[in-house]
Subunit: 283 residues, 2 copies
């Protein structure tokens, strides 16, 4: 059993991880760090975390694992603030949605302690944010991608891997670059499309939504994601996201062409393929 | 109470309408027409319809209301086949997702009986098709848009309006053009985006879907819509759909620009607006 796990940023993901660790008895103390003591007090009161502090030194002191669970835009600052309190024994990991950028930040900021940082990303979430929306079962049967650094010891990697596996997740390994390309496609792109759909409707006819069926609600659900989180992801995974949006626009162009030409066979094929593939993915 | 309602095309929408009419005791006989007698027999056996026929003359004979519930691409043929059996007393209506095109088909095909056709569109559906997926509650609290023709008598319009209201729907009236612009935006566009997202992922990396979170599943659900239905809608609402896709691409362009420039304020604004509006729509 781990003595102390510190969660930096007790929001939806941090809070769900805290609850899952407590529910599975994986650590003696789940310690929360944040900037707002009222919020942390509430998280403690509702049994999300055991203890908390608004000073990093206290939060990290004698911790076995520190999990950074804040929006990725705040990582640089947090890494710099953490560094003075590192010992070489404290394992640091994260839950950030981008990896290449974070890895280079870690290398720049943590210096001799960068080998203690195990970059990870649980592919789980929902459109609500804050620890109030957290659930201990959020990670069950969800993928967690670890993108190890060359300098990471296999023991440190295993520690983080076990943490996720013990709360029901399925861990995969890949390079930070593959992660960002893949997630740019399966997560960042759909979010950009959903945000843009809502923005397009706002620009055309804000009252149109009363004529939207259930499909629209599902489709636009992810447009309710947290704005700071998505702003940070856009900036950190900029190249991949732009490249996927542009690639997607070409797919739209060929659909427009098929509609323009009333190319029934092509339209049939496009819709049949999409349906078949989507059903096989979900089924 | 109506004596006989005929449903032409006993699929998801036709079957759900049939069930709702039976459940609410609105007609003595709900009569199904289709091309496949095995399917119709099954629909009768599972209590979706009371009687059926594969000949239009028998299906329409002495019917009070005929509801065309086939994909919109088949309307022209059906209207021509129906015409010889019309009497001036039979009210015809439909559930098609496009209206301008259908109205002009009705005017071209039905001649002196075009005043008997009340164009309508219930905004309800799901990604499954066929009467097996039908449900009597499908239309409760759903919008039905009626786009009356100038020649329609107010009694005929009321008859169709009451039919929908009696099964729980909320009827609105507008012009066929407004309908097509509106639905092009709230329904056809999201479907095109979802089909294209899946097609883009297929083209890039078909196995990527295992790294997709719940949001992706919701987002892509409508990519499982029926291919024939969507092919027909694309062709019939061609101009509106193309115009909305192109407009949407401009919205994507301005997102790309904000990401390229790392314009944090703009990104914040785009995501905050989308989230706020989406949340207010869904309530």
């Amino acid at each position: 059993m781990i003595n102390k796990i510190t969660i930096i940023g007790v929001g939806l993901i941090g809070g769900s991880l805290a609850k899952a660790i407590k529910e599975n008895g994986l650590a003696k103390v789940v310690f929360g760090f944040g900037r707002n003591s009222d919020r942390l007090k509430m998280a403690q009161k509702t049994n999300v975390i055991d203890q908390y502090s608004t000073t990093l030194e206290e939060a990290i002191n004698e911790s076995d694992i520190v999990v950074i669970a804040t929006p990725v835009g705040s990582f640089k600052e947090i890494l710099s603030e953490i560094k003075p309190f590192l010992t070489g024994k404290i394992i640091i990991t994260d839950v950030g949605s981008t990896k290449t950028n974070i890895v280079s930040m870690v290398n720049q900021t943590l210096g001799e302690y960068s080998n203690c940082f195990i970059p990870a990303h649980p592919i789980a979430g929902k459109e609500k944010s804050g620890f109030e929306a957290s659930e201990p079962n959020l990670f069950i049967n969800k993928k967690v991608i670890i993108t190890p650094l060359e300098a990471n010891s296999s023991d440190s990697i295993k520690l983080v891997q076990k943490m996720w596996e013990n709360i029901g997740a399925d861990v995969d390994f890949m390079s930070p670059e593959s992660h960002d390309e893949l997630l740019g496609m399966t997560s960042h792109l759909p979010h950009m499309l959903a945000f843009s759909l809502v923005n397009y409707l706002i620009s055309k006819n804000p009252s149109a939504s009363i004529y939207a069926a259930g499909g629209f609600k599902d489709f636009s659900r992810i447009a309710s994601g947290d704005n700071v989180m998505w702003r940070d992801i856009c900036i950190q995974n900029k190249d991949q996201i732009i490249s996927h949006i542009k690639g997607y626009q070409k797919t739209l162009d060929s659909l427009v062409e098929a509609i323009e030409n009333e190319n029934r066979d092509k339209l049939d094929l496009l819709f049949t393929n999409a349906k078949k593939t989507r059903d096989s993915w979900v089924g």
